[in-house]
Symmetry: C3
Subunit: 174 residues, 3 copies
Protein backbone atom coordinates (compact mmCIF):
# COMPACT_ATOMS: atom_id res chain seq x y z
CA UNK A 1 0.00 0.00 0.00
CA UNK A 2 1.08 3.62 -0.39
CA UNK A 3 4.50 4.32 1.04
CA UNK A 4 5.38 8.00 1.44
CA UNK A 5 8.83 9.45 2.18
CA UNK A 6 8.76 12.89 3.83
CA UNK A 7 12.12 14.66 3.95
CA UNK A 8 12.80 18.03 5.49
CA UNK A 9 15.24 20.12 7.47
CA UNK A 10 15.14 20.79 11.19
CA UNK A 11 11.85 22.43 12.21
CA UNK A 12 10.66 22.38 8.63
CA UNK A 13 7.21 21.19 9.68
CA UNK A 14 7.80 17.71 8.25
CA UNK A 15 6.40 15.88 11.29
CA UNK A 16 3.26 18.02 11.44
CA UNK A 17 2.75 17.57 7.70
CA UNK A 18 3.11 13.78 8.04
CA UNK A 19 0.72 13.65 10.98
CA UNK A 20 -1.93 15.72 9.22
CA UNK A 21 -1.59 13.45 6.19
CA UNK A 22 -1.94 10.35 8.38
CA UNK A 23 -4.97 11.74 10.23
CA UNK A 24 -6.69 12.40 6.89
CA UNK A 25 -6.12 8.78 5.86
CA UNK A 26 -6.96 7.08 9.17
CA UNK A 27 -9.67 4.38 9.14
CA UNK A 28 -12.26 3.50 11.74
CA UNK A 29 -11.22 0.88 14.35
CA UNK A 30 -9.76 -1.69 14.30
CA UNK A 31 -7.62 0.51 12.05
CA UNK A 32 -5.00 2.27 14.15
CA UNK A 33 -3.35 5.67 13.86
CA UNK A 34 0.21 4.89 14.88
CA UNK A 35 3.24 6.94 15.73
CA UNK A 36 6.31 4.72 15.44
CA UNK A 37 8.86 6.70 17.40
CA UNK A 38 12.57 6.04 16.98
CA UNK A 39 13.78 8.52 19.60
CA UNK A 40 15.70 7.45 22.66
CA UNK A 41 15.95 9.92 25.52
CA UNK A 42 19.61 10.25 26.43
CA UNK A 43 19.42 13.74 27.90
CA UNK A 44 17.01 16.36 29.22
CA UNK A 45 16.72 18.20 25.89
CA UNK A 46 15.59 15.03 24.11
CA UNK A 47 13.27 13.95 26.93
CA UNK A 48 11.45 17.28 26.74
CA UNK A 49 11.22 17.08 22.94
CA UNK A 50 9.72 13.55 23.03
CA UNK A 51 7.17 14.48 25.67
CA UNK A 52 6.14 17.68 23.87
CA UNK A 53 5.63 15.74 20.66
CA UNK A 54 3.48 13.15 22.45
CA UNK A 55 1.27 15.85 23.99
CA UNK A 56 0.98 17.68 20.68
CA UNK A 57 -0.35 14.59 18.91
CA UNK A 58 -3.32 14.01 21.19
CA UNK A 59 -5.21 10.87 22.20
CA UNK A 60 -6.14 9.60 18.72
CA UNK A 61 -2.58 8.40 18.33
CA UNK A 62 -1.05 5.18 19.65
CA UNK A 63 2.71 5.37 20.10
CA UNK A 64 5.00 2.43 19.42
CA UNK A 65 8.70 2.68 20.19
CA UNK A 66 11.16 1.29 17.70
CA UNK A 67 14.61 2.75 18.33
CA UNK A 68 16.27 -0.17 16.53
CA UNK A 69 13.75 -2.83 15.50
CA UNK A 70 11.98 -0.73 12.91
CA UNK A 71 11.68 -3.36 10.15
CA UNK A 72 10.11 -5.84 12.59
CA UNK A 73 7.64 -3.20 13.81
CA UNK A 74 6.57 -2.39 10.25
CA UNK A 75 6.16 -6.10 9.49
CA UNK A 76 3.59 -6.37 12.31
CA UNK A 77 1.26 -3.66 10.94
CA UNK A 78 -2.25 -4.49 9.75
CA UNK A 79 -3.98 -3.57 6.51
CA UNK A 80 -6.16 -0.94 8.17
CA UNK A 81 -3.30 0.82 9.99
CA UNK A 82 -1.90 4.21 9.12
CA UNK A 83 1.57 4.68 10.58
CA UNK A 84 4.02 7.57 10.76
CA UNK A 85 7.66 6.66 11.42
CA UNK A 86 9.40 9.66 13.01
CA UNK A 87 12.20 9.75 12.24
CA UNK A 88 14.64 7.74 10.18
CA UNK A 89 17.69 9.87 10.96
CA UNK A 90 17.28 9.12 14.68
CA UNK A 91 16.92 5.44 13.82
CA UNK A 92 20.14 5.64 11.79
CA UNK A 93 21.86 7.39 14.68
CA UNK A 94 20.68 4.62 17.04
CA UNK A 95 22.02 1.94 14.68
CA UNK A 96 25.40 3.64 14.45
CA UNK A 97 25.64 4.08 18.22
CA UNK A 98 24.82 0.38 18.67
CA UNK A 99 27.41 -0.48 15.99
CA UNK A 100 24.87 -2.45 13.98
CA UNK A 101 25.74 -3.31 10.38
CA UNK A 102 23.87 -0.76 8.28
CA UNK A 103 23.56 -2.50 4.92
CA UNK A 104 21.36 -5.41 6.10
CA UNK A 105 19.38 -3.05 8.35
CA UNK A 106 18.65 -0.74 5.39
CA UNK A 107 17.70 -3.69 3.19
CA UNK A 108 15.35 -5.08 5.84
CA UNK A 109 13.70 -1.67 6.28
CA UNK A 110 13.16 -1.16 2.56
CA UNK A 111 11.75 -4.69 2.24
CA UNK A 112 9.43 -4.36 5.24
CA UNK A 113 8.16 -0.91 4.24
CA UNK A 114 7.55 -2.03 0.65
CA UNK A 115 5.78 -5.25 1.64
CA UNK A 116 3.55 -3.83 4.38
CA UNK A 117 -0.20 -3.75 3.73
CA UNK A 118 -0.52 -0.64 5.93
CA UNK A 119 -0.19 2.99 4.88
CA UNK A 120 3.26 4.09 6.00
CA UNK A 121 4.65 7.63 6.10
CA UNK A 122 8.39 7.78 6.73
CA UNK A 123 9.76 11.05 8.12
CA UNK A 124 13.44 11.91 7.85
CA UNK A 125 15.85 14.83 8.13
CA UNK A 126 17.73 16.36 5.25
CA UNK A 127 21.24 16.71 6.71
CA UNK A 128 23.42 16.97 3.61
CA UNK A 129 23.04 20.55 2.40
CA UNK A 130 25.47 22.32 4.71
CA UNK A 131 29.23 22.63 4.78
CA UNK A 132 31.18 19.33 5.05
CA UNK A 133 31.34 18.54 8.80
CA UNK A 134 34.72 18.64 10.52
CA UNK A 135 34.53 15.21 12.10
CA UNK A 136 34.55 11.86 10.32
CA UNK A 137 31.61 10.41 12.25
CA UNK A 138 29.34 13.27 11.19
CA UNK A 139 30.49 12.84 7.58
CA UNK A 140 29.75 9.12 7.73
CA UNK A 141 26.33 9.83 9.27
CA UNK A 142 25.27 12.19 6.50
CA UNK A 143 26.63 9.84 3.84
CA UNK A 144 24.63 6.95 5.24
CA UNK A 145 21.52 9.11 5.67
CA UNK A 146 21.79 10.13 2.03
CA UNK A 147 22.11 6.52 0.88
CA UNK A 148 19.10 5.50 2.97
CA UNK A 149 17.03 8.36 1.55
CA UNK A 150 17.86 7.39 -2.03
CA UNK A 151 16.85 3.77 -1.48
CA UNK A 152 13.61 4.63 0.25
CA UNK A 153 12.70 7.31 -2.30
CA UNK A 154 13.21 4.75 -5.07
CA UNK A 155 10.91 2.30 -3.28
CA UNK A 156 8.28 4.84 -2.22
CA UNK A 157 5.07 5.61 -4.10
CA UNK A 158 5.39 9.26 -3.14
CA UNK A 159 8.25 11.45 -1.94
CA UNK A 160 8.01 15.02 -0.77
CA UNK A 161 10.36 17.64 0.61
CA UNK A 162 8.93 19.99 3.24
CA UNK A 163 10.20 23.58 3.42
CA UNK A 164 8.63 26.05 5.88
CA UNK A 165 5.73 23.65 6.34
CA UNK A 166 4.96 23.48 2.62
CA UNK A 167 5.45 20.52 0.26
CA UNK A 168 7.75 20.30 -2.75
CA UNK A 169 6.76 17.06 -4.48
CA UNK A 170 9.65 14.91 -5.63
CA UNK A 171 7.62 11.90 -6.79
CA UNK A 172 3.96 10.99 -7.18
CA UNK A 173 2.59 14.48 -6.45
CA UNK A 174 -0.62 14.63 -4.52
CA UNK B 1 -1.76 43.12 0.34
CA UNK B 2 0.51 40.47 -1.10
CA UNK B 3 2.97 39.07 1.40
CA UNK B 4 5.81 36.98 -0.05
CA UNK B 5 8.24 34.78 1.89
CA UNK B 6 11.57 34.17 0.14
CA UNK B 7 13.71 31.45 1.69
CA UNK B 8 17.13 30.38 0.53
CA UNK B 9 20.58 29.22 1.58
CA UNK B 10 23.66 31.38 1.90
CA UNK B 11 24.51 33.10 -1.41
CA UNK B 12 21.53 31.48 -3.07
CA UNK B 13 20.56 34.73 -4.78
CA UNK B 14 17.52 35.20 -2.54
CA UNK B 15 18.19 38.89 -1.87
CA UNK B 16 18.75 39.71 -5.54
CA UNK B 17 15.60 37.80 -6.46
CA UNK B 18 13.59 39.71 -3.84
CA UNK B 19 14.97 43.05 -4.96
CA UNK B 20 14.23 42.38 -8.62
CA UNK B 21 10.70 41.37 -7.65
CA UNK B 22 10.27 44.53 -5.59
CA UNK B 23 11.61 46.77 -8.36
CA UNK B 24 9.12 45.27 -10.80
CA UNK B 25 6.26 46.08 -8.41
CA UNK B 26 7.37 49.54 -7.32
CA UNK B 27 4.91 52.43 -7.78
CA UNK B 28 5.50 56.05 -8.69
CA UNK B 29 6.06 58.47 -5.75
CA UNK B 30 4.84 58.87 -3.10
CA UNK B 31 5.18 55.08 -3.26
CA UNK B 32 8.54 54.07 -1.85
CA UNK B 33 10.92 51.24 -2.69
CA UNK B 34 12.17 50.25 0.74
CA UNK B 35 14.93 48.04 2.04
CA UNK B 36 14.21 47.21 5.66
CA UNK B 37 17.60 46.03 6.86
CA UNK B 38 17.93 43.98 10.03
CA UNK B 39 21.73 43.74 10.04
CA UNK B 40 23.83 45.17 12.83
CA UNK B 41 27.52 45.65 12.16
CA UNK B 42 29.43 43.98 15.00
CA UNK B 43 32.63 43.32 13.05
CA UNK B 44 34.54 44.24 9.92
CA UNK B 45 33.18 41.33 7.86
CA UNK B 46 29.59 42.39 8.52
CA UNK B 47 30.31 46.10 8.00
CA UNK B 48 31.73 45.37 4.56
CA UNK B 49 28.79 43.14 3.67
CA UNK B 50 26.22 45.80 4.66
CA UNK B 51 28.00 48.52 2.71
CA UNK B 52 28.42 46.35 -0.41
CA UNK B 53 24.70 45.51 -0.33
CA UNK B 54 23.77 49.18 -0.04
CA UNK B 55 25.94 50.13 -3.02
CA UNK B 56 24.61 47.22 -5.07
CA UNK B 57 21.02 48.36 -4.61
CA UNK B 58 21.48 51.81 -6.06
CA UNK B 59 19.71 55.14 -5.44
CA UNK B 60 16.12 54.03 -6.14
CA UNK B 61 16.09 52.35 -2.75
CA UNK B 62 15.48 53.92 0.64
CA UNK B 63 16.99 51.98 3.53
CA UNK B 64 15.29 51.70 6.91
CA UNK B 65 17.06 49.97 9.77
CA UNK B 66 15.07 47.62 11.96
CA UNK B 67 17.42 45.33 13.86
CA UNK B 68 14.76 44.66 16.51
CA UNK B 69 11.63 46.78 15.96
CA UNK B 70 10.56 45.05 12.77
CA UNK B 71 6.85 44.73 13.51
CA UNK B 72 6.62 48.45 14.30
CA UNK B 73 8.44 49.34 11.09
CA UNK B 74 6.06 47.23 9.01
CA UNK B 75 3.07 48.82 10.77
CA UNK B 76 4.22 52.27 9.56
CA UNK B 77 4.27 51.35 5.85
CA UNK B 78 1.89 53.01 3.40
CA UNK B 79 -0.39 51.43 0.80
CA UNK B 80 1.86 52.43 -2.11
CA UNK B 81 5.08 51.11 -0.57
CA UNK B 82 6.98 48.05 -1.71
CA UNK B 83 9.31 46.77 1.01
CA UNK B 84 11.95 44.05 1.17
CA UNK B 85 12.88 42.85 4.67
CA UNK B 86 16.41 41.38 4.56
CA UNK B 87 16.70 39.24 6.49
CA UNK B 88 14.62 37.51 9.13
CA UNK B 89 17.39 35.22 10.36
CA UNK B 90 19.51 38.24 11.30
CA UNK B 91 16.48 39.73 13.07
CA UNK B 92 16.03 36.46 14.98
CA UNK B 93 19.72 36.49 15.87
CA UNK B 94 19.37 40.07 17.15
CA UNK B 95 16.34 39.11 19.28
CA UNK B 96 18.20 36.19 20.82
CA UNK B 97 21.31 38.28 21.55
CA UNK B 98 19.08 40.89 23.23
CA UNK B 99 17.32 38.11 25.16
CA UNK B 100 13.92 39.21 23.94
CA UNK B 101 11.00 36.81 24.36
CA UNK B 102 10.54 35.24 20.93
CA UNK B 103 6.93 34.10 20.99
CA UNK B 104 5.34 37.58 21.32
CA UNK B 105 7.89 39.00 18.85
CA UNK B 106 6.98 36.33 16.27
CA UNK B 107 3.25 36.91 16.84
CA UNK B 108 3.66 40.68 16.43
CA UNK B 109 5.64 40.22 13.21
CA UNK B 110 3.10 37.84 11.68
CA UNK B 111 0.26 40.19 12.65
CA UNK B 112 2.00 43.33 11.31
CA UNK B 113 3.06 41.66 8.05
CA UNK B 114 -0.43 40.25 7.48
CA UNK B 115 -2.22 43.52 8.27
CA UNK B 116 0.03 45.86 6.28
CA UNK B 117 -1.45 47.55 3.21
CA UNK B 118 2.01 47.59 1.58
CA UNK B 119 3.59 44.92 -0.60
CA UNK B 120 6.10 43.11 1.65
CA UNK B 121 8.77 40.63 0.61
CA UNK B 122 10.37 38.82 3.54
CA UNK B 123 13.82 37.31 2.93
CA UNK B 124 15.20 34.60 5.20
CA UNK B 125 17.91 31.94 5.37
CA UNK B 126 17.31 28.22 5.27
CA UNK B 127 19.58 26.99 8.07
CA UNK B 128 18.11 23.59 8.92
CA UNK B 129 19.35 21.26 6.21
CA UNK B 130 22.82 20.47 7.52
CA UNK B 131 24.14 18.21 10.26
CA UNK B 132 22.83 18.93 13.79
CA UNK B 133 25.10 21.66 15.20
CA UNK B 134 27.37 20.82 18.12
CA UNK B 135 26.33 23.65 20.38
CA UNK B 136 22.96 24.15 22.02
CA UNK B 137 22.60 27.82 21.04
CA UNK B 138 22.97 27.01 17.33
CA UNK B 139 20.42 24.20 17.71
CA UNK B 140 17.99 26.59 19.39
CA UNK B 141 18.57 29.18 16.68
CA UNK B 142 17.74 26.82 13.84
CA UNK B 143 14.72 25.48 15.72
CA UNK B 144 13.36 28.99 16.23
CA UNK B 145 14.15 29.96 12.63
CA UNK B 146 12.21 26.92 11.44
CA UNK B 147 9.22 27.80 13.61
CA UNK B 148 9.25 31.38 12.35
CA UNK B 149 9.41 30.23 8.72
CA UNK B 150 6.45 27.90 9.17
CA UNK B 151 4.30 30.64 10.70
CA UNK B 152 5.17 33.19 8.04
CA UNK B 153 4.73 30.71 5.20
CA UNK B 154 1.26 29.90 6.53
CA UNK B 155 0.38 33.61 6.64
CA UNK B 156 1.99 34.52 3.29
CA UNK B 157 0.20 34.75 -0.03
CA UNK B 158 3.26 33.37 -1.78
CA UNK B 159 6.32 31.43 -0.64
CA UNK B 160 9.34 30.55 -2.72
CA UNK B 161 12.65 28.79 -2.18
CA UNK B 162 15.64 30.14 -4.13
CA UNK B 163 18.36 27.74 -5.27
CA UNK B 164 21.24 29.00 -7.42
CA UNK B 165 19.26 32.17 -8.11
CA UNK B 166 16.23 30.27 -9.41
CA UNK B 167 12.79 29.93 -7.76
CA UNK B 168 11.11 26.77 -6.52
CA UNK B 169 7.56 27.82 -5.71
CA UNK B 170 6.20 26.51 -2.44
CA UNK B 171 2.90 28.41 -2.44
CA UNK B 172 1.00 30.71 -4.79
CA UNK B 173 3.31 30.24 -7.78
CA UNK B 174 3.83 33.26 -9.91
CA UNK C 1 24.95 22.78 -26.85
CA UNK C 2 22.87 21.89 -23.83
CA UNK C 3 24.53 22.81 -20.55
CA UNK C 4 22.97 21.30 -17.44
CA UNK C 5 23.69 22.28 -13.82
CA UNK C 6 22.98 19.53 -11.28
CA UNK C 7 23.01 20.68 -7.65
CA UNK C 8 22.45 18.50 -4.62
CA UNK C 9 23.46 17.78 -1.05
CA UNK C 10 25.93 15.15 0.10
CA UNK C 11 24.84 11.66 -0.99
CA UNK C 12 21.79 13.11 -2.68
CA UNK C 13 22.30 10.92 -5.73
CA UNK C 14 23.35 13.88 -7.87
CA UNK C 15 26.35 12.09 -9.43
CA UNK C 16 24.35 8.97 -10.28
CA UNK C 17 21.58 11.12 -11.77
CA UNK C 18 24.11 13.03 -13.90
CA UNK C 19 25.78 9.83 -15.08
CA UNK C 20 22.49 8.21 -16.04
CA UNK C 21 21.57 11.35 -17.93
CA UNK C 22 24.92 11.38 -19.73
CA UNK C 23 24.69 7.68 -20.63
CA UNK C 24 21.26 8.27 -22.17
CA UNK C 25 22.70 11.06 -24.34
CA UNK C 26 25.97 9.40 -25.35
CA UNK C 27 26.74 9.07 -29.07
CA UNK C 28 28.52 6.34 -30.96
CA UNK C 29 32.33 6.74 -31.36
CA UNK C 30 34.16 8.97 -31.98
CA UNK C 31 31.77 10.54 -29.49
CA UNK C 32 33.11 10.04 -25.97
CA UNK C 33 31.42 9.55 -22.63
CA UNK C 34 33.64 11.56 -20.32
CA UNK C 35 33.99 11.92 -16.59
CA UNK C 36 35.90 15.10 -15.87
CA UNK C 37 37.00 14.54 -12.29
CA UNK C 38 38.11 17.44 -10.11
CA UNK C 39 39.05 15.39 -7.06
CA UNK C 40 42.57 15.29 -5.69
CA UNK C 41 43.45 12.51 -3.28
CA UNK C 42 45.01 14.09 -0.20
CA UNK C 43 44.10 11.33 2.25
CA UNK C 44 42.96 7.72 2.46
CA UNK C 45 39.25 8.61 2.76
CA UNK C 46 39.36 10.56 -0.51
CA UNK C 47 41.50 7.98 -2.31
CA UNK C 48 38.95 5.28 -1.52
CA UNK C 49 36.07 7.50 -2.61
CA UNK C 50 37.70 8.29 -5.98
CA UNK C 51 38.50 4.63 -6.67
CA UNK C 52 34.99 3.46 -5.72
CA UNK C 53 33.47 6.05 -8.05
CA UNK C 54 35.71 4.93 -10.92
CA UNK C 55 34.74 1.27 -10.44
CA UNK C 56 31.05 2.16 -10.16
CA UNK C 57 31.08 3.95 -13.51
CA UNK C 58 32.30 1.01 -15.56
CA UNK C 59 34.33 0.78 -18.77
CA UNK C 60 32.10 2.91 -21.03
CA UNK C 61 33.52 5.98 -19.33
CA UNK C 62 36.79 7.76 -20.01
CA UNK C 63 38.10 9.75 -17.06
CA UNK C 64 39.92 13.05 -17.46
CA UNK C 65 41.41 14.77 -14.42
CA UNK C 66 40.97 18.50 -14.08
CA UNK C 67 41.59 19.55 -10.50
CA UNK C 68 42.36 23.13 -11.57
CA UNK C 69 42.38 23.51 -15.37
CA UNK C 70 38.68 22.90 -15.85
CA UNK C 71 37.97 25.68 -18.36
CA UNK C 72 40.82 24.47 -20.60
CA UNK C 73 39.55 20.89 -20.42
CA UNK C 74 36.05 21.95 -21.44
CA UNK C 75 37.46 24.00 -24.30
CA UNK C 76 39.06 20.83 -25.74
CA UNK C 77 35.80 18.85 -25.97
CA UNK C 78 34.38 17.79 -29.34
CA UNK C 79 30.85 18.18 -30.68
CA UNK C 80 30.01 14.52 -30.20
CA UNK C 81 31.21 14.32 -26.58
CA UNK C 82 29.00 14.03 -23.54
CA UNK C 83 30.84 15.09 -20.39
CA UNK C 84 30.02 15.06 -16.69
CA UNK C 85 32.06 17.40 -14.49
CA UNK C 86 32.07 16.04 -10.92
CA UNK C 87 32.23 18.21 -9.00
CA UNK C 88 32.47 21.98 -8.99
CA UNK C 89 32.72 22.35 -5.21
CA UNK C 90 35.89 20.24 -5.20
CA UNK C 91 37.24 22.36 -8.03
CA UNK C 92 36.47 25.50 -6.01
CA UNK C 93 38.18 23.96 -3.01
CA UNK C 94 41.26 23.20 -5.14
CA UNK C 95 41.35 26.78 -6.42
CA UNK C 96 41.15 28.18 -2.90
CA UNK C 97 43.88 25.85 -1.63
CA UNK C 98 46.09 26.90 -4.54
CA UNK C 99 45.26 30.56 -3.79
CA UNK C 100 44.12 31.17 -7.35
CA UNK C 101 42.09 34.31 -8.04
CA UNK C 102 38.48 33.13 -8.22
CA UNK C 103 36.79 35.81 -10.29
CA UNK C 104 38.75 35.19 -13.54
CA UNK C 105 38.56 31.41 -12.96
CA UNK C 106 34.76 31.59 -12.62
CA UNK C 107 34.49 33.80 -15.70
CA UNK C 108 36.66 31.41 -17.74
CA UNK C 109 34.59 28.41 -16.64
CA UNK C 110 31.27 30.06 -17.51
CA UNK C 111 32.65 31.14 -20.90
CA UNK C 112 34.12 27.70 -21.73
CA UNK C 113 31.01 25.80 -20.62
CA UNK C 114 28.72 28.14 -22.57
CA UNK C 115 30.82 28.05 -25.73
CA UNK C 116 31.48 24.30 -25.83
CA UNK C 117 29.88 22.31 -28.65
CA UNK C 118 29.71 19.23 -26.37
CA UNK C 119 26.92 18.26 -24.01
CA UNK C 120 28.13 19.18 -20.53
CA UNK C 121 26.58 18.23 -17.20
CA UNK C 122 28.02 20.12 -14.25
CA UNK C 123 27.61 18.49 -10.81
CA UNK C 124 27.95 20.54 -7.64
CA UNK C 125 27.18 20.43 -3.93
CA UNK C 126 24.63 22.57 -2.18
CA UNK C 127 26.54 23.70 0.91
CA UNK C 128 24.60 26.79 2.00
CA UNK C 129 21.52 25.48 3.79
CA UNK C 130 22.98 24.73 7.20
CA UNK C 131 23.93 26.88 10.17
CA UNK C 132 26.58 29.57 9.50
CA UNK C 133 29.96 27.82 9.91
CA UNK C 134 32.20 28.85 12.79
CA UNK C 135 35.31 29.51 10.77
CA UNK C 136 35.86 32.25 8.23
CA UNK C 137 37.34 29.98 5.56
CA UNK C 138 34.25 27.76 5.51
CA UNK C 139 32.05 30.86 5.33
CA UNK C 140 34.06 32.17 2.38
CA UNK C 141 33.88 28.78 0.69
CA UNK C 142 30.10 28.60 0.86
CA UNK C 143 29.78 32.21 -0.26
CA UNK C 144 31.95 31.57 -3.31
CA UNK C 145 30.15 28.29 -4.06
CA UNK C 146 26.85 30.14 -3.99
CA UNK C 147 28.14 32.83 -6.34
CA UNK C 148 29.47 30.20 -8.74
CA UNK C 149 26.16 28.33 -8.71
CA UNK C 150 24.19 31.47 -9.51
CA UNK C 151 26.41 32.33 -12.47
CA UNK C 152 26.32 28.83 -13.91
CA UNK C 153 22.57 28.47 -13.37
CA UNK C 154 22.04 31.71 -15.26
CA UNK C 155 24.19 30.43 -18.15
CA UNK C 156 22.78 26.88 -18.18
CA UNK C 157 20.00 25.62 -20.41
CA UNK C 158 18.73 23.43 -17.60
CA UNK C 159 19.22 23.39 -13.83
CA UNK C 160 18.00 20.76 -11.43
CA UNK C 161 18.24 20.09 -7.71
CA UNK C 162 18.51 16.45 -6.66
CA UNK C 163 16.95 15.35 -3.35
CA UNK C 164 16.99 11.66 -2.36
CA UNK C 165 17.90 10.76 -5.93
CA UNK C 166 14.92 12.60 -7.41
CA UNK C 167 14.94 15.80 -9.49
CA UNK C 168 13.39 19.16 -8.61
CA UNK C 169 13.63 21.19 -11.80
CA UNK C 170 14.80 24.75 -11.35
CA UNK C 171 15.05 25.69 -15.03
CA UNK C 172 14.21 24.11 -18.39
CA UNK C 173 12.40 21.06 -16.97
CA UNK C 174 12.88 17.84 -18.78
Amino acid sequence: MPLILVIGGARSGKSAWAQTRAESQARTPPGRLLMIATAQAFDAEMTQRIERHRLDRGPAWTTLEAPLNLAETLSDLHTEDVAVVDCLTLWLSNLMLAQIDLEPAFAALVAAASASPARIILVTNEVGQGIVPDNALARRFRDEAGRLHQRLAAAADQAVMIVAGLPLWLKGAG
